[in-house]
């Protein structure tokens, strides 16, 4: 049954190799031993509190892929209304009920970058972060988010 998902993932693998240059903000890597496990490094979008940070995502792809969405979470700590602060779980429609096979692991990464730049505070997984935005405390939100970007998503200066 997972033959179809395997074949699809292999196509994505080839596509990723080709797109590496085209999309320097995303580095998507397949686990050498298991094509159903991927990790990605995405750059925090510029002019956001995540700028300068590099965030690691973990992908777990189900057997029913691409009929079912991959499970994606942040491995890098991030202060964002739509990311669970402890688990890294992401609240994004295309990863839940709006998934379709037209998406790829690569385009999911792009959607996550877009989410980082445009948080949706009305459906928060991180209520503290969501409340700051909802109460209009943009400065508070940005400084918290920037602090965690520095703490967790930037290489330590040696």
């Amino acid at each position: 049954m997972n033959q179809a998902s395997r074949a699809r993932l292999f196509k994505e693998y080839k596509e990723v190799q080709r797109e590496k240059v085209a999309d320097p903000d995303i580095q998507l890597v397949c686990d050498e031993a298991n094509i159903f496990k991927w990790t990605a490094l995405v750059k925090g979008p510029s002019e956001t509190p995540f700028e300068g940070g590099v965030f690691q995502l973990a992908f777990s792809v189900p057997d029913q892929y691409p009929l079912q969405p991959p499970q994606v979470k942040f491995l890098t700590k991030i202060f964002h209304p739509n990311v669970h602060f402890k688990t890294g779980e992401i609240c994004l429609d295309i990863l839940k009920n709006a998934w379709s096979p037209a998406w790829t692991l690569q385009s999911v990464c792009r959607a996550i970058i877009a989410l980082m730049a445009h948080p949706e505070p009305d459906s928060p997984l991180n209520c503290d972060s969501g409340n700051l935005l909802r109460s209009g405390d943009i400065r508070g939100y940005q400084s918290m988010a920037r602090m965690y970007t520095r703490l967790a998503a930037m290489p330590k200066k040696g």
Binding site: A4, L67, T87, E89, K96, N97, P101, A102, T104
Partner: protein
């Protein structure tokens, strides 16, 4: 050892902890568990049943419905149910269409629809879809189409068609194929579909396709049906079984609507054969929220 009270408190706190850790993933998992459980009860596609089974369902129901079922009996012989999983329109269409080809062996129709499918492929590419994201679904549909024609190495029987339609790895892929087709058609002719979509959901065409057409399990409306019928050039009759009175004044009548594909555009020379209304060979029964297949007498 803990005494009774202590263990009760610990249960309580752990429940609170569970709640705090309750994640979307868990909800999705629970949801898919429910779907799997329901799946055991009703197959994607049922057996052909006489229309009397429909009457039995409404035995103590609305007299209007019973009256309408009586009327249906005059024209229709049987019903084939599909699972109410949000894909029932596409799945009903899949089976009704392939069954028609299997029984009619209408090679001209197969050639015609293949031309349309090829057009749809170009549409998706021109809309910016990445080919490898949809090609598997196209391939699988075309394989089913070939296999219902006799005289091929991999020709299949009617029983086999039923089985394949119940096999998730085939059935869901064909459903998804139709979703791609409908989405591509809606986006291609967005200026035409926009007012209908506005009336239905008040969202943009792009958003509608993203959230209501392409995802599996999203229910179909007249927009989906129009788009699929237009894109594939296949007329579809939908018979409505609801509690409304029919058109004919005070006496009850059963409404139906024929979705007739728009005359194919002039560039598509191969299918310019006729502009006269074709009688639909795909007939579906609509009850609010659900589609099944209907068999004329």
């Amino acid at each position: 050892m803990q005494n009774q009270d202590a263990s009760e408190t610990s249960v309580q706190t752990s429940e609170v902890d569970d709640w705090a850790n309750f994640r979307d993933d868990d909800i999705l998992q629970q949801q898919s568990a429910i779907v799997t459980e329901e799946a055991g009860k009703i197959p994607f596609l049922g057996d052909k049943e006489p229309l009397t089974s429909l009457a039995a369902e409404y035995k103590s129901g609305s007299p209007i419905l019973l009256e309408k079922i009586k009327l249906l009996n005059e024209q229709y012989a049987a019903i084939r149910r599909t699972r109410g999983d949000g894909n029932c329109f596409f799945r009903s269409f899949m089976f009704a269409y392939l069954e028609h080809i299997l029984e009619s062996q209408d090679r001209a129709e197969v050639d015609r629809i293949k031309t349309n499918v090829e057009e749809c492929r170009k549409t998706l590419l021109s809309l910016g879809y990445v080919e490898f994201t949809f090609e598997d679904f196209f391939t699988l549909f075309l394989e089913q189409l070939e296999s219902v024609l006799s005289g091929n190495e991999d020709s299949i029987s009617h029983d086999e068609l039923v089985q394949r339609s119940r096999d998730q790895s085939i059935s869901d892929y064909v459903v998804m194929f139709f979703r791609f087709i409908a989405s591509g058609e809606i986006k291609k002719r967005s200026e035409f579909y926009e007012p209908f979509i506005q009336g239905l959901t008040n969202t943009s065409v792009q958003q509608f396709c993203k959230s209501s057409v392409e995802p599996m399990g999203e229910e179909s409306d007249h927009v989906h049906i129009t788009a699929l019928s237009d894109a594939l050039g296949v007329p579809i009759r939908v018979v409505y079984l609801d509690r409304s009175h029919g058109d004919k004044g005070s006496s009850v009548s059963v409404n139906h609507h024929d979705f007739t594909p728009v005359a194919c555009d002039l560039t598509n020379a191969t299918s310019a054969s006729g502009s006269e209304a074709v009688k639909p060979f795909v007939t579906l029964l609509y009850r609010p929220g659900h589609y099944d297949i209907l068999y004329p007498k």
